[in-house]
């Protein structure tokens, strides 16, 4: 697999795991009965995805060679830039 595909797969897994853990925590906290159990299931699935990602990258698996940490920095930078852009837009609209 090419380095780009490996990187994409790695970051896909990271994004998937983050959303499952976050949404699972919210659903498990605010849900009741069956919904709460679904939330615990999401957390479990997120933990499995995180564990798989960890085993494939930090533990020296197939994804170890890509610039993953720097790419995570790029993801954070992209989100930060988008948020700043939206803030600029809102400030301009509100001040006008």
């Amino acid at each position: 697999m090419s380095a780009e595909m490996t990187l994409a797969l790695t970051l896909f897994t990271v994004g998937f795991a983050i959303v499952l853990l976050g949404m699972g925590a919210l659903v498990a906290y605010y849900g009741s009965k069956k919904t709460r159990y679904a939330g615990f299931g999401f957390i479990l699935l997120g933990a499995v995805a995180t564990g798989y990602w960890n085993s494939q990258s930090f533990a020296g698996g197939a994804w170890a060679e890509v610039a993953m940490l720097d790419s995570m920095l790029a993801v954070a930078g992209g989100f930060a830039g988008a948020i700043v852009g939206v803030i600029i837009f809102l400030v301009a609209i509100i001040k006008s």
Binding site: E4, L7, A8, L9, T10, L11, F12, T13, V14, G15, F16, A17, I18, V19, L20, M23, G24, V27, G31, S32, K33, K34, T35, A38, G41, F42, L45, N54, F58, A59, A67, L69, D70, S71, M72, L73, A74, V75, A76, G77, G78, F79, A80, G81, A82, I83, V84, G85, V86, I88, F89, A92, I93, S96
Partner: protein
Amino acid sequence: MFTTELLGYLWNFEFFVAAFLFGLGLATLGSGLFTAYFGAGKSQQIGFGLIVMAILVLGLQYHQTYIADPATFDAANFRYGLIAAIAAMVGMGAGMFAVLFILMKVDTVDDLEDLDLEDLEDLDLDEELKKLEEELAAADGGDVSDDGGDDAPTEDADKEDKA
């Protein structure tokens, strides 16, 4: 394993800056296009201003990555950052889809079992309204001639009823 790797890692902040500029450019371009198209007057001018700002940011980044010699940003790093950001967003979308799909498929109706919907179906709303009016009238001092809280004269209320 994870923490020791993170603690000893020398971060390359070029990834962050390049992605930050690209995200900023895309967000201002999108919001600018939206405002310029749907806005009017001042808002439309703000939209055009945002588009100009986005073109400047993206153009500067393109120049500093692909044209300038020596280049400020490494093209390979920018490509990797872009792939990573898109992949992470697709992963988050997939996660959201999975969560919503499972939540919709899981039968959560029993969470509402405390609500007895059959009682609600049998409820006569007119009857309940009359009871409430009588209770309110009794609380106001036994005046049952009130037409339901409307300040309009009784004749008007009668006309409305006939209409």
